[in-house]
């Protein structure tokens, strides 16, 4: 029995008809057509699929689309202002936080959730927050420095 839902993805409402077992990830990639979020493990281990649902970080591979009915979903595509990258995205680029790029969408969403919750995190808090986002390229150093730099810039701007 398919279920009618409305997902608000990056501020745009999408009326959809979904299988009750369809994941939020597959629905956003396949039905909405936003393929920034990645499927890595499909098991809540790697974080490549991470989205914000009503502001909460969610491994969307393991979250049912039907449960997000009426929720505000933010994917990596929603972080930038059109073609203008978000400060976190710029910092990842300039500080070596991106290599192959597969973890990057989830990593950026995870970092966004961290800074929303804790605007001035310690390095330990940053490393803890991205523990659920596996990166096999960068060694995390550039990622951690990029997140710390954005937090510091925001603090300096008051």
């Amino acid at each position: 029995m398919a279920v009618d839902i409305t997902l608000s993805v990056n501020g745009v409402p999408y009326p959809l008809t979904v299988d009750p077992h369809a994941s939020l990830l597959h629905t956003v990639r396949g039905d909405v057509g936003l393929t920034g979020s990645k499927e890595g493990c499909d098991d809540s281990e790697c974080g490549a699929c991470m989205m914000l649902v009503d502001g909460r970080p969610v491994n969307s591979c393991s979250y049912l689309a039907v449960q997000a009915d009426g929720s505000d979903v933010t994917t990596v595509e929603g972080l930038s202002d059109g073609e203008t990258l978000a400060p976190l995205q710029e910092a990842f680029l300039t500080r070596g936080g991106v290599q192959c790029g597969f973890c990057t969408p989830g990593m950026l969403v995870s970092a966004t959730a961290l800074l929303d919750r804790s605007p001035n995190p310690s390095e330990d808090e940053i490393r803890t927050a991205v523990s659920g986002n596996l990166c096999r390229c960068t060694g995390y150093d550039g990622i951690v420095k990029a997140i710390a730099a954005v937090a510091a810039e925001r603090a300096a701007q008051g």
Partner: protein, 313 residues
């Protein structure tokens, strides 16, 4: 790791309803639906091939009132079934009076797991490795279940019967877990410590929770100790508790409690550790949990989560 074959219920037989009150959820469960909130066990378990997703699901994640943390009439704390681990690890009352529960909540999964995974799902999943289990037991946790015949209360020790098994009927919904008031007759502290190979995204290899109460002269007047991932269910260890009462709560007393916990353990060997290793570590981890609870009872500050800070003790 994707195991699509395990999820092959026919698409046409799948149903989903979203409940906005407990009665609707219970009615759906009576008709065969399984409740889903954060989905961090149910959906992930299906991905693992552990069990397919149930054909009939009832979403309970938006039922009002079930995400509240509130005092009980008896001075204890009522935790709604939808309270997330993220809420528990930051709640001022939990941090002040039930810090062992904060220790446990802070090390479940990643921050995405904690933002969505609920206490109710954790409790009803009945895993012998669940981190919140030992502190809930030590704080006198009682499950409040609602079924077609009404509400009943079950001590957590009588709820869990084995991995994934409980005495709750399929049509009973957990609505809350209630904790005892903190001991009023002295200074008390609690803790949860686990053996972990990494700090996040980890499942306890061995865990232990403790609540210790000290009299005015520093003597241990009350102790509760529970062990995790060391038996088919998380359970208290009376011998470990007896080894602490009347002592100064120092290293030798904690060591004796650890030895009692190791003697009571009935661990299995699996990918995370052998039974022998788990038994040996039961002594160490229980000792660390007790020493941490004693430090907190003495008014010393121990960061949450305690697991990250107890190496070498």
């Amino acid at each position: 790791m994707s195991t699509a074959t395990s999820m092959t219920t026919s698409a046409s037989s799948r149903t989903y309803v979203e409940a906005r009150d407990v009665a609707t959820a219970v009615a759906a469960m009576s008709a065969g639906a399984r409740p889903i909130a954060g989905g961090t066990d149910l959906v992930v378990g299906a991905r693992h091939g552990k069990a397919p997703l149930p054909a009939a699901l009832v979403g309970i994640h938006r039922i009002p009132g079930l995400a509240d943390v509130a005092p009980t009439d008896g001075g204890g704390l009522r935790l709604g079934a939808l309270v997330t681990h993220a809420t528990l690890m930051a709640d001022p009352t939990v941090l002040a009076s039930y810090p062992g529960l904060a220790d446990a909540s802070a090390i479940v999964g990643s921050h995405a797991t904690r933002a969505n995974g609920t206490l109710g799902g954790n409790v009803m999943n009945s895993s012998p490795a669940m981190d919140t289990g030992a502190p809930l037991l030590c704080h006198g946790g009682v499950a409040v279940l609602v079924g077609p015949a009404g509400e009943r209360r079950v001590a957590l020790a009588d709820l869990w019967t084995g991995p994934g098994r409980s005495t709750a009927a399929p049509d009973e919904l957990l609505v809350a877990v209630e904790l005892d008031a903190p001991p009023a007759d002295g200074a008390s502290g609690s803790s949860y410590v686990r053996l972990q190979y990494r700090r996040q995204m980890e499942i306890a290899i061995v865990g232990a929770g403790a609540v210790v109460t000290l009299g005015a002269d520093g003597t241990v007047t009350g102790a509760k100790v529970a062990i995790t991932a060391l038996a088919p269910v998380i359970h208290r260890v009376a011998e470990a508790e007896a080894a602490l009462v009347g002592t100064d709560g120092g290293f030798e007393a904690a060591k004796a409690a650890g030895a009692a916990a190791a003697a009571a353990a009935r661990p299995i060997s699996d990918v995370r550790g052998s039974a022998d290793y788990r038994r040996a570590m039961a002594a160490v981890i229980t000792r660390r949990a007790v020493l941490t609870a004693v430090r907190r009872a003495r008014g010393e500050s121990v960061p949450v989560p305690a697991s990250d800070t107890t190496f070498g003790s």
